[in-house]
């Protein structure tokens, strides 16, 4: 079963995803404090990361870029979540190394399909 780590400081998103993915055959873990992400990634070894760009405690794009430069985590697909749907934000996300971009609000069926596609592409699960 694929393991997905959600990094989002809004508990609303984690709660909604837990509800929506309850029958999706994935294991969802959530992290609200991005400062702990290195430890969590080492322990959880997720197959994909869902990362909110608009983290209050950290710059989501900066975090994405840092993880992609870190050899320990660079192979983990990162799917960005953002309420900003303009082309500049999406371009900045891909420039930061993101593998995909999903605009909020999102339909859970599409989100899980995109995450599964990224995992399959990397042959991770």
């Amino acid at each position: 079963m694929p393991r997905i780590l959600l990094v989002d400081d809004e508990p609303r998103i984690a709660r909604a995803l837990e509800f929506a993915l309850r029958d999706a055959d994935v294991q969802l873990a959530s992290l609200s404090d991005a400062s702990q992400i290195d430890d969590v990634l080492e322990q959880l070894r997720p197959d994909a990361i869902l990362l909110d760009i608009g983290l209050a405690s950290d710059d989501g794009l900066g975090l994405c870029s840092r993880l992609k430069r870190d050899v320990r985590f660079s192979e983990i697909p990162i799917v960005l979540l953002s309420g900003q749907t303009n082309a500049e934000t999406k371009a900045a996300g891909f420039s930061a190394g993101a593998d995909d971009f999903i605009a909020k609000p999102f339909v859970p069926t599409e989100l899980i399909a995109r995450v599964r596609a990224q995992i399959a592409r990397r042959g991770r699960a």
Partner: protein, 160 residues
């Protein structure tokens, strides 16, 4: 065993019709925060208002924001020439200018994942709602459902 008709199935059975992470503001947020939230997802046609515990308090329909934005942006001399907006509404809005989401929001009916699709649709059509918030057992916002998408989905199923 007989198959349960789609009408009699619970809303939670249709994850492809749920919109998660909708535009949300806190009840004390400003008008500009409300406008920014809706700008991020104009398809929702409304902004959802929550309290400190994320419980749904009401919604701010797009139309209500339109009126307040017109009042803010357009010079008063132009108001009478706007055909489909009532100038008296604008004047009234100017007198009691809303400052927060609380001033703008209206009560709304929400649905829960275990509600039957039939009951949801009948309620939305009766009330004229284009979108209905989805809440959990504690009244916390999960997302929303669109009447158009629900009906379009049912049409696709009946065509298949």
């Amino acid at each position: 065993m007989a198959k349960i008709p789609v009408w009699r199935r619970p809303v939670g059975d249709f994850p492809s019709l749920l919109h998660l992470g909708p535009p949300v503001v806190h009840v004390t947020d400003s008008l500009s925060s409300v406008v920014s939230a809706l700008a991020g997802d104009p398809h929702a046609r409304a902004v959802f208002v929550v309290d400190d515990d994320d419980r749904l308090l009401g919604i701010i329909p797009e139309r209500r924001l339109d009126t307040n934005l017109v009042r803010l942006v357009l010079p008063q001399s132009i108001w009478p020439s706007i055909g489909d907006l009532d100038a008296r509404t604008l004047l009234h809005a100017a007198k009691g200018a809303p400052q927060t989401a609380h001033d703008l929001m209206v009560p709304c009916d929400a649905t829960t994942p275990d509600a039957l699709l039939q009951d949801l649709l009948v309620g939305m059509i009766r009330r004229g709602d284009s979108a209905t918030p989805l809440i959990d057992e504690q009244g916390r916002l999960l997302g929303y459902l669109s009447l158009f998408e629900l009906l379009a989905n049912l049409l696709r199923q009946s065509d298949a």
